[in-house]
């Protein structure tokens, strides 16, 4: 573990699956995890905006993460979930294939994202956690959802 730049704190993440890869988001920004409910399509909106749902009287937009990352599309099934997150005072939902667990990862296990590609998606990666032979991609949720307006 060569990187010790972030200090020795232990960080907590919610991990989920998308396109057979493991991803994680900071637990502090996760508000709740729901099953897929009825989603109302937003007219003339971006492709990756799946629509909006009624979350206890609040109307919140739902982002299809597969579409956002330009992965192959997949119809929602029993294991599909919506992760509700609050970023910069705006509540959003992310559709993922399935949610796995809550992980405690020491900061030293996290490596910065390799400068592998000029690929669009790499800008949303905050780092990569290596543990027990697993590689978990940590998402920079502020960039992912905060970017919304610009795109």
């Amino acid at each position: 573990m060569e990187t010790a730049t972030v200090g020795e704190d232990i960080l907590q993440f919610v991990t989920f699956n998308l396109n057979n890869e493991e991803y994680a988001v900071d637990i502090l920004s996760v508000q709740e995890i729901n099953r897929i409910t009825e989603i109302t399509k937003v007219p003339n909106s971006e492709d990756y905006v799946e629509g909006v749902v009624n979350l206890r009287g609040k109307v919140i937009p739902i982002i299809n993460l597969r579409k956002k990352f330009s992965f192959e599309e997949k119809t929602a099934d029993d294991s599909s979930r919506i992760i509700i997150m609050e970023i910069q005072n705006i509540t959003n939902g992310l559709i993922v294939d399935s949610v796995s667990e809550v992980l405690r990862i020491p900061a030293s296990f996290i490596e910065p994202a390799p400068p592998m590609s000029a690929e669009q998606n790499s800008q949303f990666i905050r780092g990569i956690a290596k543990l027990e032979g697993r590689l978990i991609i940590l998402l920079d949720i502020d960039r992912l959802l905060g970017n919304e307006d610009a795109s």
Binding site: T40, V42, P43, N44, S45, G51, V53, N54, V59
Partner: protein, 630 residues
């Protein structure tokens, strides 16, 4: 700084700003009416209160400015000097300075304005007016000032030892405040808080000023009563709290809608069951109560539009002076109440229209005389409620708009083509002034004519879900009519269906709904149109507008058509089905860009589904574009 002190200061700022807002139009009124003791007294008192409170809090600059202009007011009141334009100008300047100083205090930016030149100007204006007796006057006054300050500190210290001033008025049984509270046993809304202390203080000041009160025999508590009455009527509440109540009321409306659906279902299923009957009864009672509650909550947010209009007399005065035009401003219906959001957003559009009317609408005095009109130009602002809308009309008696000039200008600016101009009706042509980058004045003046402004009018007003229209007649004048719905949170909507999705269309711009057969729809150079009572109206498919991908309506023999009328624009939207009318609560959409989606917001229907509310004014704005593309 302690919290209590912060509170006192912020209270001071609010009150002082309110006083300034209130007295500013009075100055202009005073100027028109000439000497009016009541007005002068009113202004004098307000200035005095500001000065007193500022002195107590140690804002010396505010005291200096307020004191100097107060000196002038005092002389005016006592009839020692008479009002002149010069005096008025410096007093108004001092009001501006006070605002600036208050801003600095509010921002805590520590910036110190140099008030000395202004104080000097005030002093010399006064001494010129009195014919050189200014010096003595100031001395006498500063004596008064000291004693007034002492007195006010006495009063204030009586109240201030306990940080919670409201508590004082509760505890001390002899304090006038509690006398007041006892006098109003039927008014549960009596809120004993800081402003009471302020008004008491003001009252005490007024009492101590022997010039002010001619009959010192009046017992103090009666005065307390008079002022307290006023404060008992008003209650300052954090807007956030009101919005929270608004939100909750909205939720109740939604639940009510769901219950109505359910009770309707049970009613049909068990229509002879007494329990079901009483459920229906209960729910319909809830229905009524909810509607009443909604209205009541909405009214909390309503404020008289006067708040916005207060600055206009001064604005018109300054503007007429700098343009050398004689202008009279008449305002009616300033008590009309509108939603707080409207108050916040209507100021700019009104200022722009007013500016436009005075600068572009009204002729110069010579021109008016030559035309045989009264030399004084007149601008009228009429505000009234019409149904569920508030109408604001701004009328000038100027030269009216020159349609051909407008068209020519728009062509020159490349905003429209020659062809378009030729086809354009006169009414449509007047709307050209709302296009971005349009300005008809040859030379841009300092005040208007930068080509920005009028498009702001249109934008702000459509943001409020309203519309603006113009009527004009050569040499008679022009009228801008702004129509805004009373409330923005809850609207009546027509529920429609397109491609199996429900949408809500605000009811106010809907003129009628029609069922037409496919043959009645004609196609004129690529654009579908329909003839309604001999008038040709463009027709759009909701499916196309929203790019839902479906074109279900095309298959059917019949179409349901909704005729929308926005100002002078009229167009039709074809939908698959009409579902009925519903009261919907507007939920804002955060986190998605809806600027091009023709969606105003969303609502949640009785069955818990999200339904989008269409932005018909947005569609109307894009009409030209759509027409061109199709």
């Amino acid at each position: 700084m302690t919290d209590e002190m912060e509170e006192i200061i912020s209270e001071f700022i609010t009150e002082a700003e309110e006083s300034l807002d209130r007295i500013e139009p009075l100055f202009v009124e005073l100027e028109q009416k000439g000497e009016d003791r009541d007005l002068i007294n009113d202004i004098f008192r307000s200035m005095h209160t500001i000065k007193g409170a500022a002195g107590f809090l140690g804002y010396q600059l505010v005291v200096d400015v307020a004191h100097s202009s107060e000196n002038i007011m005092k002389k005016l009141r006592d009839g020692e000097i008479s009002l002149s334009r010069e005096l008025m100008d410096v007093i108004l300047k001092s009001i501006d300075m006070l605002r600036l100083l208050l801003d600095h205090i509010k921002e805590k930016d520590g910036i110190e304005e140099d008030v000395a030149p202004l104080v000097k100007e005030l002093g010399s204006a006064l001494s010129r007016a009195t014919g050189g007796q200014g010096e003595i006057t100031v001395k006498v006054d500063s004596h008064n000032q000291t004693s007034a300050q002492q007195q006010e500190e006495t009063v204030f210290s009586k109240l201030s030892p306990a940080p919670e001033m409201d508590a004082v008025s509760d505890r001390a049984p002899d304090a006038p405040a509690s006398v007041q509270a006892e006098r109003l046993p039927d008014a549960p809304e009596v809120i004993k808080h800081l402003p009471d202390a302020e008004s008491l203080k003001e009252e005490a000041l007024a009492l101590n000023d022997t010039d002010e009160i001619k009959n010192p025999a009046i017992p103090p508590k009666d005065h307390g009563l008079k002022l307290k009455d006023k404060s008992a009527q008003n209650l300052r509440v954090d807007v956030e709290r009101i919005d929270k109540v608004m939100d909750l009321a909205g939720e109740v409306v939604l639940v009510r809608n769901r219950l109505l659906n359910l009770s309707h279902y049970f009613d049909q299923k068990y229509n002879n069951d007494p329990q079901s009957e009483s459920l229906t009864e209960t729910v319909s009672f809830l229905d009524r109560v909810t509607s009443d509650m909604q209205l009541a909550v909405m009214r909390i947010r309503m404020q008289p539009i006067k708040k916005v209009l207060g600055k206009f007399p001064r604005f018109v005065r300054d503007m007429s002076a700098s343009l050398n035009k004689d202008v009279e401003l008449i305002i009616t219906g300033e008590g009309t109440e509108v939603d707080k959001t409207v108050i916040e957003h209507i100021g700019d559009p009104l200022t722009h229209i007013l500016r436009n009317s005075i600068d572009h609408g009204l002729e110069s005095t010579e021109e008016r005389v030559a035309k045989g009109k009264p030399s004084k130009g007149r601008v009228k602002i009429d505000i009234f409620q019409k149904g569920t809308q508030v109408v604001i009309e701004i009328t000038d008696d100027g030269k009216g708009m020159d349609i051909s000039k407008l068209k020519k200008k728009a062509i020159d600016k490349g905003l429209i083509t020659r062809d378009e101009a030729a086809k354009m009706t006169d009414k449509a042509a007047t709307e050209l002034i709302f296009m971005a980058g349009f300005s008809t004045k040859e030379v841009a003046t300092e005040l208007s004519g930068r080509g920005v402004g009028m498009d702001v009018v249109k934008n702000n007003i459509s943001m409020l879900n309203g519309y603006v229209e113009i009527s004009t007649e050569k040499d008679v004048g022009s009228t801008f009519r702004i129509c805004i719905p009373l409330t923005l949170a809850i609207i009546h909507a027509l529920m429609v269906e397109a491609s199996n999705a429900k949408y809500a269309i605000p009811l106010s711009p809907i003129e009628e709904t029609l069922k037409v057969s496919a043959e009645e729809i004609e196609n004129v150079s690529g654009q579908n149109v329909i003839v309604i009572r001999d008038k040709v109206c463009p027709l759009f498919e909701l499916n196309d507008l929203l790019h839902t991908g479906g074109n279900g309506a095309n298959k059917a023999d019949h179409k349901y058509i909704i005729v929308i009328s926005m100002g002078d624009r009229k167009y039709c939207i074809a939908v698959d089905k009409l579902l009925g009318q519903e009261e919907v609560v507007i939920k804002t959409l955060d986190g998605i860009d809806t600027s091009s989606s023709f969606v105003l917001g969303a609502t949640i229907t009785g069955d818990g589904k999200v339904v989008f509310i269409l932005d018909v004014s947005g569609i109307s704005r894009n009409l030209v574009e759509i027409t061109k593309n199709s």
